[in-house]
């Protein structure tokens, strides 16, 4: 409770300081906007639906790209984790590729797909894929062999093992990978949208710059923070806690 009060006080005073500094008009408004202006821009943006359309466009892209990388990443991770040969070869390739910042896939992607939706989705996919795959491989390799032994002894075939043991047993690791993959994908999306793409939050941000509209820039940044927090703190953190609790890692 005290923690909450502290936090509340902190953010209120931060807002107050912001209002006071903005009122002092030390810098021109297009460099240092007032929170009131930002608030108005936010409301306008939602009223004329431009922010809603932008947010939905961005979420749609990340939804598709991230969804595909989730499917491929988990499947690939389990297959590679189960196979020593693949792990030594493909596994090391993936570790190598992971050092590449995901936006670096953009030039390749544009050449392959052209300046369109597919290109940005590919970049998102590559951003999340490697993190998810690596985490899944680690998860599968950490599974106690006795679970697999017990499963086989009770009659599980390879596909049963995949479904009933390998996947659930590596879930704690997979969720860590999903969380990391999400933040990579989110960054890749923003970078891509800032660079060239039509519609989306990144483009709204860029538009704010071009129109010298600092209010819009800050407003969009606030939306980005809000979405980031929603997914990271609410969705992934909750999922992680639920899994850890069920597995007995945490009381």
């Amino acid at each position: 409770m005290k923690k909450l009060t502290n936090r509340y006080l902190f953010f209120t005073s931060l807002l107050l300081v912001w209002i006071i500094v903005a009122q002092a008009k030390i810098w021109p408004e297009y460099l240092f906007p007032s929170p009131i202006g930002v608030g108005e821009r936010l409301i306008d943006g939602f009223k004329d639906r431009s922010f809603i359309i932008g947010t939905l466009a961005s979420l749609r892209r990340i939804g598709i790209g991230y969804g595909i990388s989730m499917l491929i990443g988990i499947t690939m991770g389990i297959i590679i984790g189960r196979n020593n040969y693949l792990n030594e070869t493909l596994g090391s390739l993936i570790t190598g590729l992971q050092t590449l910042p995901s936006i670096c896939w953009l030039p390749l992607s544009i050449l392959w797909f052209g300046l369109n939706e597919k290109a940005i989705i590919f970049v998102i996919l590559m951003g999340a894929l490697l993190a998810i795959t690596t985490a899944t491989i680690a998860g599968v390799k950490n599974i106690s062999p006795i679970y697999i032994k017990a499963g086989k002894n009770m009659g599980a075939k390879e596909f049963d093992l995949f479904r009933t043991i390998l996947l659930p047993a590596s879930l704690p690791n997979i969720i860590t990978g999903l969380k990391q993959g999400w933040s990579f994908a989110w960054r890749a999306l923003m970078a891509g949208e800032l660079l060239y793409v039509n519609l989306g939050l990144g483009q709204l941000l860029m538009m704010g710059r071009e129109l010298n509209d600092m209010n819009q820039v800050i407003a969009v940044m606030l939306i980005l923070i809000f979405i980031g927090l929603t997914f990271d703190r609410l969705l992934f953190a909750k999922l992680e806690r639920a899994v850890r609790k069920r597995w007995g890692y945490e009381a």
Partner: protein
């Protein structure tokens, strides 16, 4: 019975026997608590015929883990295999369970039904090996669900066996909420629900405290006497073997061979104060000491290297 193969070929032989296979659809829970639908007199016999296995360690060094193991176990018998740790007991058990292949030799046992190979022999491990992501109920139902049992029938069987091990009240619990003894009871139920003919137990009670262990002995003996399952029980605890089994086989290490056999009378419950048992215990312990001496003479610490 001898193997028709040249002894080098590894195979589990499906014996064609003119008897009814188990009818898995005929399960009634309304009968006695432990009701079994045994329709044939076959099934529980286990023959281990000259089984050998070597492991390669550190490049080219080959260590003979078990050598020429010959064991014949009658249906409904409770046989204990005792020996020092690292003598290859677990390897032998894995081979019998079909999880590892022997270098030579054959394991013979009746197979419940075609296409269902190995499932008449179920393993119970020291660490219980229950799945922490499933509830107690789901753990016990695991094998049935793999076999795509109808929901209703699966439910009946799971409840029946959870009742048998007195854990029905815990069916919605997660594994980490259970004590060590309860975990082993779940493991027992999870194996029994598949109605195996043979239970292979790999030091199942080694990690339990004395009180819990004694309860588990009683439970296991009750289940054994009610179901007449064949049990091969591995332990390094001689007293445990004396309390539980019909017959004790003593295993030596490096290489693992069966050194001696001790028959026990069929009377239960047993007391360790019994002179007869005391005598057998002394003999077995003496064999362990002899084994140890030979080991020291050979200067072999192969054991540790394997581990």
């Amino acid at each position: 019975m001898t193997s028709p193969s040249n002894g080098l070929e590894i195979e589990l032989v499906v014996q064609e026997m003119p008897h009814n296979i188990y009818d898995l659809n005929d399960i009634s829970v309304t009968q006695d608590k432990i009701c079994l639908n045994r329709k044939s007199g076959y099934g529980g016999k286990l023959i281990i015929d000259k089984v050998s296995k070597a492991y390669q360690i550190r490049g080219d060094k080959l260590v003979q883990v078990i050598e020429d193991i010959d064991i014949e176990i009658e249906e409904g018998e409770f046989v204990s295999l005792v020996g020092p740790s690292g003598c290859g007991k677990s390897t032998l058990l894995n081979i019998i369970a079909g999880l590892e292949k022997p270098d030579s030799g054959v394991v013979w046992s009746n197979i419940r039904a075609k296409g269902c190979k190995d499932h008449n022999r179920l393993l119970i491990f020291q660490e219980a090996a229950l799945f922490p992501w499933l509830t107690v109920y789901e753990n016990v139902a695991y094998g049935l669900r793999i076999r795509k049992y109808p929901k209703e029938q699966c439910n009946q069987l799971v409840i029946k066996y959870l009742e048998l091990v007195n854990l029905l009240n815990f069916k919605e619990s997660y594994i980490h909420q259970l004590s060590g003894g309860m975990k082993q009871r779940v493991a027992l139920a999870r194996a029994l629900v598949l109605e195996p003919e043979i239970l292979l137990m790999d030091e199942p009670f080694a990690a339990l405290d004395i009180k819990t262990r004694k309860d588990m002995y009683q439970l296991l003996l009750n289940i054994w006497q009610a179901t007449k399952k064949t049990i091969l029980f591995i332990t390094h605890n001689v007293e445990e073997a004396l309390i539980l089994s019909n017959r004790i086989l003593v295993m030596n290490s490096h290489p693992g061979v069966i050194k001696s056999e001790h028959k026990l009378n069929g009377q239960y419950p047993r007391s360790l104060e019994d002179e007869n048992l005391q005598e057998i215990k002394k003999r077995i312990l003496q064999e362990f000491i002899d084994d140890l001496n030979i080991d020291v003479e050979q200067g072999g610490n192969v054991n540790e290297e394997v581990n």
